[in-house]
Amino acid sequence: MGRTLAEKVWDDHVVRRAEGEPDLLYIDLHLLHEVTSPQAFDGLRKSGRRVRRTDLTIATEDHNTPTLDIDKPIADPVSRTQLETLRKNCAEFGVRLHSLGDSEQGVVHVVGPQLGLTQPGTTVVCGDSHTSTHGAFGALAFGIGTSQVEHVLATQTLPMAPFRTMAITVLGELPEGVTAKDLILAIIARIGTGGGQGYVIEYRGEAIEKLSMEARMTICNMSIEAGARAGMIAPDDTTFAYLRGRDHAPQGADWDEAAAYWRTLRTDDDAVFDHEVVIDAAELAPFVTWGTNPGQGAPLSQEVPDPASFADPNERLAAEKALEYMGLSAGQKLRDITVDTVFVGSCTNGRIEDLRSAAAVLEGRTIADGVRMLVVPGSVRVALQAVEEGLDKVFTAAGAEWRHAGCSMCLGMNPDQLSPGERCASTSNRNFEGRQGKGGRTHLVSPQVAAATALTGRLASPADLADVPTPVEV
């Protein structure tokens, strides 16, 4: 019987297989950041171990880094200690680190791909759940816990429990104005936040094949919000074109050899998935969340649902609680929801294409009175590219704040937070209670919807903007 893409990558990394034990898998790339690594390094130190493969390991600072005044000392002592500890550990163990102020610094899941380190058919791990992002390249990429981080540092391997496979096939083409973010939000609303539990999801079908690499990363990034172990997309010419010439992409004969291998990384026609979901792209529309988990979403044209309409008692209760926390009532039009803040950024939507699409909506317009809009590039490289294209000017001219790269308001570990009761349209991935700041209310949206929302002050898509006056050209 044929094998799926995920099974092929898994099989190629089995170091040891023994009856009654989990497979021991080799890890090709280990990404580190300041939050989940300190105790792992401490463990190594205690047992007198070293990092087995510093050449397969890379660290960046992202969660705690400020997005303003980055040359000043970091005010919060906890954030400062975490960053200083990472610097000390990387120096001591010989791990490559991109610190705040470095031109390659940024959110760990933006940095790996842009350096060309994330490649098809590799295994990628990081002490961070959104490691699933890297699956967009046909890599098998998992988030891991701190003791596993230590295990990988010491051995470059991980004992891994087997997974099940799920195919999500998206037929047809995404309609005009519908983005990868809308698609993944719709998928999570459909299968639920636990729908992917135990599975590696492979996204396939025409709509997926037509997506750019960055859009594919947006999809795979949020696999974890459906509870999946990982998300994957088979590598193709789009993948190869993205990789070619990047700093760490193979070159010359190595490239040819690598590409020949990468082309084998497709699910065989006779392979069987444990579960299959089919989605018709034509039915999709801009999608936003109304609740406090990423599965509580609906097309922008709809209303806040009535909790009583959920047949499942748990879902009904969750919806009731969510509406209470979000300060919304059943039947309210989603388009009538007003926001205080708009956040464009994160490892979901902080790449250059995301900034371009937000800027295209904002160009020549001004954001609504009383709305604060933060644009936080996913990495310094993305920021430099945006400046080169003049996007930063578009943002500031519209009244948005152009900030330094990092995780920022995605989780508010740095000073970028919502105040209690504040409502935010956010391009990030989690709308959990308090995620963006205590008492903060989050609506997950695409970059286009974020920009349109900033202009109107209420949840909106670019299609709603016809009546927002554009200034007369001079």
Partner: protein, 197 residues
């Protein structure tokens, strides 16, 4: 991880059930960046009371914690185990442990011993009457011994072997170092590298 064969020490009788990991180590301690230095956070809220058993001078240097049933429930934080170890505990005895806590403890070399509640009561009485009374936790013989008490306990063979040998997950994997070397030798040259090795 330190090997555990047999340990003899004085005890802290903790007459409380359902001690959750938040009580063992409160959440604000989780911001720390090391695996040690958690001893002051251990049972932090209760330690404000000078009469709390851990604060009594006669309990200083005790290494065996005898607790009520359902010890270690709640959040999965591994810090709870580190805090007990940092404080100096080598073994915890209870009639019932929460699963995740038990897994974490055995992974870190803290022996968690399940004994019937009557035996726990007997150990409480003994060590409350005589704070100098010692308890022996013998993993080789799978037995807890104290004056007038001999109680056998069970532990799954794999966990016992790992504790006796002092093997953590990493040590076990490192036993297959040759297999890892062999795999590395076959890895294609085109695989990405972050820097020169």
């Amino acid at each position: 991880m330190e090997a555990f064969t047999t340990h003899t020490g004085r005890a802290v009788p903790l007459r409380r059930g359902n001690v959750d990991t938040d009580q063992i180590i409160p959440a604000h301690w989780l911001k720390k960046v090391t695996r040690d230095g958690f001893e002051d956070g251990l049972f932090e809220a209760w330690r404000k009371d000078p009469e709390f058993v851990l604060n009594r001078p006669e309990r200083a240097g005790a290494t065996v914690l005898v607790a009520g049933p359902d010890f270690g429930t709640g959040s999965s934080r591994e810090h709870a185990v580190w805090a007990l170890q940092n404080y100096g505990f080598k073994a915890v005895i209870s009639a019932r442990f929460a699963d995740i806590f038990r897994g974490n403890s055995l992974k870190n070399g803290l022996l968690t011993v399940v004994l019937p509640q009557d035996t726990v009561e007997a150990l409480w009485k003994l060590t409350e009457t005589d704070p100098t009374a010692e308890i022996t936790v013998d993993l080789v013989a799978r037995e807890v011994r104290a004056e007038g008490i001999t109680a056998p306990f069970e532990l799954d063979e794999n966990a016992r072997w790992r504790l006796l040998e002092g093997l953590d997950d990493i040590s076990i994997t490192l036993r297959h170092g040759d297999t890892i070397d062999a795999y590395e030798a076959r890895r294609p040259a085109y695989k990405p590298r972050t820097q020169a090795a």
